[in-house]
């Protein structure tokens, strides 16, 4: 088998960002928004002309690009940077035009429109023009538009990763509680459209647990723990026992990266800063924010020690004008909305530590200790300094209070519960990194379903994947 030496491909398609890369690498090769810009076939005259000649056109385009007369494609690297840069945000800040979601339905089109699309950062740029409309095929972690997703994958495999799918094994991720039908759809696309050599679909939370094995705090490599996954849109608390997600206990809060950014923006606006764009707010969030142990003390600290106030310089693209933004209490106030949501919202008031506690309490009693013991962070919004420490402290006090109350009521002595929150350096792309870690092992291929298996049993084969037993 010739593909034995080829590295496996790890693809993590999230609601906001897609992470693509090769197993064995320490970071994803490509990170770009899970966005696709498709051409709007509704341009009356030009498109109808296109339709007539579509059959010819497709051939002409093709052969002219394979012959010597085709345009050269070796551009300079500088202007490509914006297309191919790794993004940390799924938001298109430069997107001035409103995202008109006109007829995105490919099935209504009969020409070569199916080939006319861009993905990722290129999509964000293309959608600013009049002839493309942007859409995000994944909503709430689940794939909504299969047509778009299929083409998104097609382009990411051939154009970005430059691999022949027949030669590589693939590791894909899925959100917890993904319906098995969706898995089957994914398998159909990967085996029938792409003929991929082998496929493994892993649950994101499990991969995040695996990623935490790199932390020095982790001694035994178990797949039991609570994953706190906070991305751009929602924060999930997911209990995992021995590699299986306890679906009934999953809880989520509608507070995540975007809310923090908006909160910073509103603080900047209240103060009347010169630049209150979303982009500025996001950069302040990424570069200056941290979690404080005590909010009142931190206010006092700031008042006594004005050096804590930072300044942030915004330059415009041409670097001609400079705006200076003062950064004040939002440095510690912004991440505080995880712990005291009432400062930012009025409809959701449960702090994150309480929610984690509720989640674990909703699990079977025999796994609770393991869940308290191994709380793993994942996603960009858990990257704030001391986030883990604060969460651990708050959670510990909740647990200790309950134990104390229990001891008082029953009169028996408790052995105590150990709460530990694990943060590690790969937190931002924890899911992808966990996938990379697992897919580079020698056993990985044995866990995959191969093309032969698929042809033998059909799509329902992917309903079950055996778990990695890494212990």
């Amino acid at each position: 088998m010739s593909y034995l030496n080829n590295p496996a491909i790890v693809m993590d398609n999230g609601t906001g960002l897609t992470k693509l890369g090769f197993a064995g690498n320490d970071s994803p090769s490509w990170i770009f928004p899970t966005a696709i810009a498709t051409s709007q076939g509704s341009q009356s005259t030009s498109s109808s002309k296109k339709l007539d000649t579509s059959m010819n056109m497709s051939n002409t385009n093709y052969s002219s690009s394979t012959t010597a007369t085709g345009a050269t494609s070796t551009g300079t690297g500088t202007n490509k940077n914006s297309y191919y840069a790794k993004s940390t945000s799924a938001t298109a800040f430069d997107n001035l035009s409103s995202n008109v979601l006109l007829s995105n339905n490919l099935a209504g089109k009969r020409g070569t429109e199916d080939l006319d699309f861009y993905i990722g950062n290129e999509a964000l740029i293309a959608s600013q023009g009049p002839s493309y409309s942007l859409s995000y095929p994944i909503k709430h972690g689940q794939i909504e538009n299969w047509d778009h997703m299929e083409r998104f994958w097609e382009n990411s495999i051939f154009k970005y990763l430059r691999v022949e799918p027949e030669d590589h094994y693939f590791l894909l991720t899925e959100p917890p509680l993904n319906p098995p039908e969706n898995r089957e759809q994914v398998a159909e696309i990967f085996f029938e459209s792409f003929n991929c050599a082998g496929l493994y679909i892993a649950v994101q939370a499990v991969l995040a647990l695996a990623a935490s094995w790199t932390s020095s705090k982790v001694i035994d490599r178990s797949l039991t723990g609570t994953v706190i996954d906070s991305g751009d849109g929602v924060t999930h608390v997911i209990p995992v026992a021995e590699g299986y997600v306890i679906g009934s206990a999953i809880k989520n809060i509608p507070i995540a990266g975007r809310d923090i950014t908006l909160f910073i923006q509103s603080l900047l606006r209240e103060r009347g800063e010169q630049d209150t764009s979303l982009k500025t707010a996001e950069r302040i969030k990424q570069e200056y924010c941290y979690v404080c142990p005590d909010i009142v003390k931190e206010f006092n600290k700031f008042d006594r020690n004005p050096e804590k106030f930072a300044q942030f310089v915004v330059e415009n693209k041409e670097r001609t004008s400079k705006k200076i933004i003062d950064i004040g209490y939002e440095r510690f106030l912004a991440p505080e909305i995880f712990f005291n949501p009432e400062i930012a919202s009025s409809d959701f008031l449960t702090p994150l530590p309480t929610l984690v506690d509720q989640t674990i309490q909703a699990c079977p009693i025999d796994v609770r200790k393991g869940l308290y013991n191994n709380i793993v962070l994942s996603g960009g919004s858990t990257m704030f300094k001391d986030f883990g420490r604060r969460l651990q402290r708050d959670l510990k006090s909740i647990v200790n209070n309950r134990i104390a109350q229990n001891e008082r009521l029953t009169g028996t002595k408790s052995t105590g519960v150990d709460v530990s929150v694990i943060s590690h350096r790969k937190q931002r792309n924890a899911v992808w990194f966990g996938g990379s870690l697992l897919a580079q092992t020698a056993e990985f291929r044995g866990y995959c379903h191969t093309k032969q298996d698929y042809e033998e049993y059909g799509p329902e084969i992917v309903r079950n994947f055996s778990l990695f037993n890494m212990v």
């Binding site: 012959t67 696309i189 459209s193």
Partner: protein, 339 residues
């Protein structure tokens, strides 16, 4: 659009990232794999943690051994080095891009280049990202030389003088390049394992061959032929004599106008080397398109089926909150369950 860049954009992006990190005084340590089509793996490695200026770029290709057979490995290495010589200025002792000697090549790779990250510029980065193309252009370059030799002869050379270069770029798949005195013939041998792919590829290739006849504007393109049996040019050297694998042969006939100067030569090589990627990409896109049409049809049929369902209006008239729940509890014929 259905456009694949000639160079490896990921390699390019990684090198730019390294270069920028160096310029910002925060040099990175890398150990990364980058992949390319046809069993090609590239590896970027910082060999020395203290001295991050140097980065090893290694490449392993499936076709390497067959490339070496085209002449010999030493010439091949010299040819590759010549592609990057323009970036190494003589005044400086240390080269910016240099091929490491065979004994220093990173384990498991065919070739290792040592790069000076601090001195790379856009032009050299783009050229480095074309590394695979540069390596695989070697037999083409040999054929161009051979062609010049042959065409300079006054009498047409006999068939014995004709040499064919073979590039085995995948298992069971080869590219044959045969220079003669008035043309160069490039033959792709390709195989499809999947039944659906076989049909798509057949239809596609037939249309592809015809497109030149139909369209007047591409008359200057090389002639394309397609057959299921090995063309006569290579009948003696095809490796797959056993007929259980049904290879397809695609022949491109290059005339002198397709390689008249260096620039056109390079473009021709790029386009030819990308042929298989485009071909396979196109088939996958066609399948994706078929799938989206299928989904559309299924949705339409489901709509028709849904029309045959009983109305749920009588439920809503009750106005009870439990009406919603009961709504779902129906037998397969649409009758409401009462219990």
């Amino acid at each position: 659009m259905l456009h694949l860049p000639t160079n490896n954009t990921l390699l390019e992006a990684t090198l730019i990232e390294l270069n920028e990190a160096w310029l910002n005084n925060a040099p990175l340590v890398v150990d990364r794999i980058v992949s390319d089509f046809d069993h090609t793996t590239l590896h970027l490695l910082t060999p020395d943690n203290e001295n991050r200026q140097w980065v090893y770029l290694s490449i392993v290709l499936m076709t390497w051994s067959s490339l070496c057979k085209c002449s010999n490995e030493e010439f091949l290495l010299r040819y590759i080095q010549s592609k990057f010589d323009k970036y190494n200025n003589d005044s400086d002792n240390s080269n910016i891009i240099e091929i490491l000697p065979k004994n220093q090549t990173v384990q498991g790779y065919n070739l290792t280049l040592r790069l000076d990250i601090s001195k790379l510029n856009n032009q050299s980065i783009t050229d480095l990202s074309l590394l695979k193309t540069h390596i695989m252009s070697y037999p083409f370059q040999l054929s161009f030389q051979k062609f010049n030799q042959l065409s300079a002869m006054e009498v047409a050379p006999s068939n014995d003088a004709v040499s064919t270069y073979r590039m085995q770029y995948r298992e069971d798949e080869n590219i044959y390049i045969q220079p003669s005195n008035d043309r160069i013939t490039v033959i792709f041998e390709t195989i499809f394992n999947d039944e659906t792919d076989k049909i798509f590829s057949k239809v596609f290739l037939q249309e592809f061959v015809d497109s030149r006849k139909r369209n007047r504007s591409i008359q200057s393109a090389p002639q394309v032929l397609f057959s299921n049996t090995p063309p006569r040019e290579i009948i003696n050297i095809t490796t797959n004599q056993n007929k259980d694998v049904d290879s397809k042969f695609i022949t491109f006939v290059l005339f002198p106008r397709h390689f008249s100067n260096d620039e056109i030569q390079f473009k021709t090589i790029c386009k030819l080397l990308q042929f298989r990627h485009y071909f396979h990409y196109h088939i996958k896109c066609s399948k994706a398109f078929m799938h989206s049409r299928m989904r559309f049809r299924v949705n339409n049929f489901i709509k028709v089926l849904n029309r045959a369902k009983f109305d749920s209006n009588d439920d809503e008239e009750n106005g009870t909150s439990s009406g919603q729940l009961d709504d779902k509890r129906r037998t397969i014929t649409g009758r409401k369950l009462v219990y």
